[in-house]
Symmetry: C2
Subunit: 201 residues, 2 copies
Amino acid sequence: MVPGFDATDEGLMSATYRAFCRRGFASLTMQDIADESEKRKAALHYHYDTKHDLLAAFLEYLYGRFHERVDAVDHDAPAEQLLALAETVLDPPASGERGFRTAMLELRAQAPYAEDYRDRLAKVDRHVRERVVETVAEEAERGVFRDDADPDEMATFVVTVISGAHTRRVPLDCPDCPVDAAQTVLAERVEDLLADEVLAG
Amino acid sequence: MVPGFDATDEGLMSATYRAFCRRGFASLTMQDIADESEKRKAALHYHYDTKHDLLAAFLEYLYGRFHERVDAVDHDAPAEQLLALAETVLDPPASGERGFRTAMLELRAQAPYAEDYRDRLAKVDRHVRERVVETVAEEAERGVFRDDADPDEMATFVVTVISGAHTRRVPLDCPDCPVDAAQTVLAERVEDLLADEVLAG
């Protein structure tokens, strides 16, 4: 269970997820969410004043789920660790729904006007960056990655490529193509980071 | 002037640009656009049935402007050619407005539901890819880029990084940081493509 969310909250977040995928962001109403849950609209309003507040909680919940998945990524080999991390972020289970991806892009476009959306999206970006920085720094120290591997630069690289793949897949007829392409790009870059000794061995 | 658009059209497109930046995508009305132009709402409707039709024409216009700028990029050195191309796409004059970038992301999120938006966005993606493929292929033939430089892979790389920078900059407090970071990432990648003889020379 995601910290800070009890069973009732989780039920409500699942209902929000279903309504969000089905209706998108802009036209989503509290009634749509109530329709997907076992609660009445009035009960939703008891917990959350507005759709905005409920969606901010929903983002927090998604972030919690995301955090769990990212921290569960654990490989001995750093190259695989980075790629597994990228795979987790590139194609999380929740993104299987085209409706979800589309609604998330709509929500992201609202971030300049909504500080609480912005903060939560920034947390995701930061969390991925931190994991990449940690992995690259540790492995450069252990001699697996090259001495001159720059953890910050690699972190920026990873979040930029992931963001690009997410955005490109929304309008395309082949939504998996940009994700596959991003995996290839990242795999090459990780290969570039490996120390000569590791490549030789 | 953009092919297919006369002076009247250009005036209307400028008005649409201003209204789009000011009001965003979702809440934009034909009245907002009329308010920015010298025309009445009824006159707009004479040319375009709906806001959707007008925005599809606006995307076509932006694409025309974009096409002109991309084709004007011309450097002798292929590395500079690719970077100047990326710079043109990463930070076109129109994107200076935060409102514009935000509204474009909103519009992009609507693309799955709107074929004419989707087609025009896909054209931009394709146009950049084609320019990259051409440049890399020519320069690999001339021996400036490595023999094994893969034009398609580089094209995917460039559009993914650019898309990622565009998306990341929308919610961030430092909108130029992702763009600067993307330039660095692309410059490194171009460097990797240079043939050994060129580097030695």
